[in-house]
């Protein structure tokens, strides 16, 4: 940020307007003239009045307010919403001069402000005033109907200011973007020019403030969004350039045990959580879970809802077994329902800020933040969103925002800038498959956490919310009935496989038994053969003995007279056979 270049010659009077003193490096130039330009309804009067009021309240500097346009009574009534306690200030530190000419006033020639300045000077001395506002002086000077005379009077005021050493603010109306040529000289004449602008983007109104000129001082020349809060006007600039948020490693539950596990314990305390998703993907349900969990821990919680009443939220969440009514009753939980198309976004955030300060929640739900998306689409507005979230971070509030978003790639995600602010981003989507829609939960990112990359199926029932594993089969994520079918199918396959292996085992056992049996048979055969062989060997061995014995028995039986012959013939026969065999060779 610029604005740090301070020349020693320029001393500044803090306006106490949040943000303005930062961008101007300390406030408006002391003892000089500041011109506040703006169209109708920009907050010129508020800016001027607030500067004087803050001077009186914070710096104990008495002030004067010359009201050319509205009566001081009207101004005090209008400022009643700001909680400045003007009537009390008016008695002690603020002098209001009603400087409207009654309609019956007749003009008969040229006039000047010499008398009025004499009065103001006397008053300033009397009350030791340091600051003065000329609000809507063009109303009076317009009556002069003479540009030269008008200019003369403005110069008179400026000279008077520098002579008396008062810090002056002059407000002036402009039409559209630029001042009529007639009044441009004012901008050259004064020491500081502040331009307030009221613009409408896509049907939404924005107020901006820009320092156009600041003699002898650096300043931030950007246009800054402003908002009218109950404290008055404030700049929703980007806050201090240096971020100094406290961080903790404390985890708090998301309200869903499985999700806590996926995030290694839950959200970081004081972090910013974004839950995006298409309509009906249970964003609010997750928000409700988070809120209920926070209350159960005994933490004060604020639930901000757009376009949905508290009773409706409580009823809807009850249908998935989330009970908020008890916490509402105990006062731990506050539900604040507001309309999307209400006041402009700056004011809305101003309101929220107040609610936060009043309730002092540790956890906050904004459902949905994208309700403001038409407004957020505008850069200035995104600024104020950031500013608000920044404020919450400084307060250490854990914030859960929901955002209506069909896909992750939509411009919305980036346009809002929320995606960059979010520490944890959970996306909910529908997976349409086999004629049904199922909710899928993905953790897009979670800073400082090695979160799970897996998609989970989110199921809602009367008993509550559950996260289930999803199945990946043939490159497809299976959910709902498909997942159930897949689970069933898997079981069936397992049963079949088991049966098959049983069968195979039996077959093998049978084969083994068969083999064993065969082995037994072979063994027995072998034994039989060996026995046979043994028998055979025995038989051969006793054969000659038997022969002899037998012959002897035989001879005996034949009465042994031709025993030699028989024997000889046998030998002869054998010899003959032997000869025949030799002849054959």
């Amino acid at each position: 940020m610029k604005g740090q270049v301070l020349l020693p010659s320029v001393t500044k009077a803090p306006t106490g307007i949040l943000g303005f003193d930062q961008i101007s490096g300390g406030g408006i130039p002391r003892g000089c003239t500041t011109l506040v330009l703006g169209g109708p309804g920009c907050g010129k009067t508020v800016f001027a009045l607030q500067s004087v009021v803050n001077g009186a309240r914070n710096a104990n500097e008495a002030g004067m307010f010359v009201a050319f346009e509205e009566s001081s009574r009207q101004i005090i009534a209008n400022a009643a919403t700001f909680g400045w306690d003007l009537p009390a200030l008016k008695r002690r530190k603020l002098f209001f001069l009603d400087a409207q000419l009654s309609p019956e006033t007749v003009k008969a020639g040229e006039f000047d402000l010499v008398g009025m300045l004499a009065l103001l000077e006397a008053k300033a001395v009397q009350s030791n005033a340091k600051r003065i506002v000329f609000d809507g002086i063009d109303v009076l000077l317009g009556l002069l109907d003479d540009p030269v005379a008008e200019r003369r009077e403005i110069y008179r005021i400026r000279d008077w200011l520098s002579r008396t050493g008062l810090t002056g603010i002059i407000t002036q109306k402009i039409d559209g973007m630029e001042v009529g040529l007639r009044h441009t000289f004012l901008q050259f004449m004064v020491d500081c020019v502040v331009v307030l602008r009221h613009q409408v983007v896509d049907g939404s109104a924005f107020r901006n403030l820009r320092i156009k000129k600041y003699r002898g001082s650096g300043f931030a020349g950007d246009e800054f969004p402003i908002s009218l809060t109950t404290e008055g006007l404030q700049l929703t600039n980007r806050g201090p350039a240096e971020l100094q948020h406290k961080v903790t490693n404390e985890r708090i539950s998301t309200g869903l045990a499985r999700l806590d596990k996926m995030l290694h314990g839950g959200f970081h305390r004081g972090s910013n959580v974004l839950i995006s998703g298409a309509p009906g993907t249970a964003k609010s349900t997750l928000a409700g879970l988070f809120a209920a969990a926070a209350c159960e821990r005994g933490e004060r919680t604020l639930y901000v809802s757009f376009d949905e009443g508290a009773a409706q939220i409580v009823r809807d969440l009850r249908s998935v077994a989330i009970r908020l009514d008890v916490h509402l009753k105990s006062g731990l939980l506050k539900i604040y329902s507001t309309r999307t198309r209400g006041p402009n976004i700056e004011d809305q955030f101003g309101d929220l800020r107040k609610k936060v300060l009043a309730h002092q929640p540790r956890c906050l739900v904004i459902d949905p933040l994208s309700a403001l998306s038409t407004k957020i689409a505008h850069l200035a507005s995104a600024d104020s969103t950031q500013q608000f979230l920044d404020f919450l971070r400084t307060e250490g509030v854990t914030v859960l925002n929901t955002s209506l978003m069909d896909g992750l790639e939509t411009d919305e995600a980036t346009a809002t800038g929320i995606s960059t602010i979010a520490d944890t981003w959970i996306h909910l989507s529908y997976v349409v498959q086999d004629g049904e829609r199922n909710r899928a939960l993905t953790i897009v990112k979670s800073r400082g956490t090695s979160h799970s990359n897996q998609v989970r199926e989110l199921t809602l029932s009367d008993d509550g919310v559950t996260l289930t594993d999803v199945f990946v089969a043939q490159g497809k994520v299976l959910m709902g009935v498909a997942r159930w079918e897949w689970e069933q199918e898997e079981q069936a396959v397992a049963v079949r496989a088991e049966a098959a292996s049983d069968r195979k085992r039996l077959r093998l056992q049978l084969a083994q038994a068969e083999a064993a049996a065969r082995l037994q048979v072979v063994k027995m055969e072998m034994e039989a053969r060996s026995a046979e062989i043994a028998v055979l060997a025995k038989a051969t061995g006793s054969a000659s003995l038997l022969l002899t014995t037998d012959r002897a028995v035989l001879r005996k039986m034949r009465h042994a007279d031709n025993e030699e012959r028989t024997a000889t013939r046998t030998v002869a026969t054998r010899k003959r056979i032997g000869r025949i065999a030799e002849e054959d060779e």
Binding site: Q100, K107, A108, F111, G115, A118, L119, E121, K123
Partner: protein, 98 residues
């Protein structure tokens, strides 16, 4: 016209000026000559210099100088400016309730 002349009410004027600022000087001169010409002996012209008595401006809610107040007879009128538009001033000063 006004044959049986009722004693005409006295014209009471108060002129606020700021020292010798050109418009103030003009206004004083214009007021004096108008009164002499048209209201001769029947007028009171009070001149208040705000440079000398600035807080008096509060009493009559004087915003610009010069301001001429017609206090009596009614209706009261407030004329601002250096009174160079004499016709306008005369018209205003002559408007009286019956």
């Amino acid at each position: 016209m006004v044959t049986a002349r009722r004693a005409e009410p006295r014209l009471h004027l108060r002129l606020y000026i700021a020292g010798n600022a050109p418009n103030s000087l003009l206004a004083v001169a214009n007021a004096k000559s108008l009164c002499e010409e048209h209201f001769a002996e029947r007028h009171v012209l009070e001149i208040v210099d705000l440079l000398e008595q600035p807080l008096r401006a509060l009493a009559d809610a004087i915003i610009v100088t010069p301001t001429l107040l017609k206090l009596a007879p009614l209706p009261a009128y407030r004329v601002i400016g250096n009174l160079n538009d004499r016709k306008q001033v005369l018209l205003t000063l002559s408007t009286n309730d019956e």
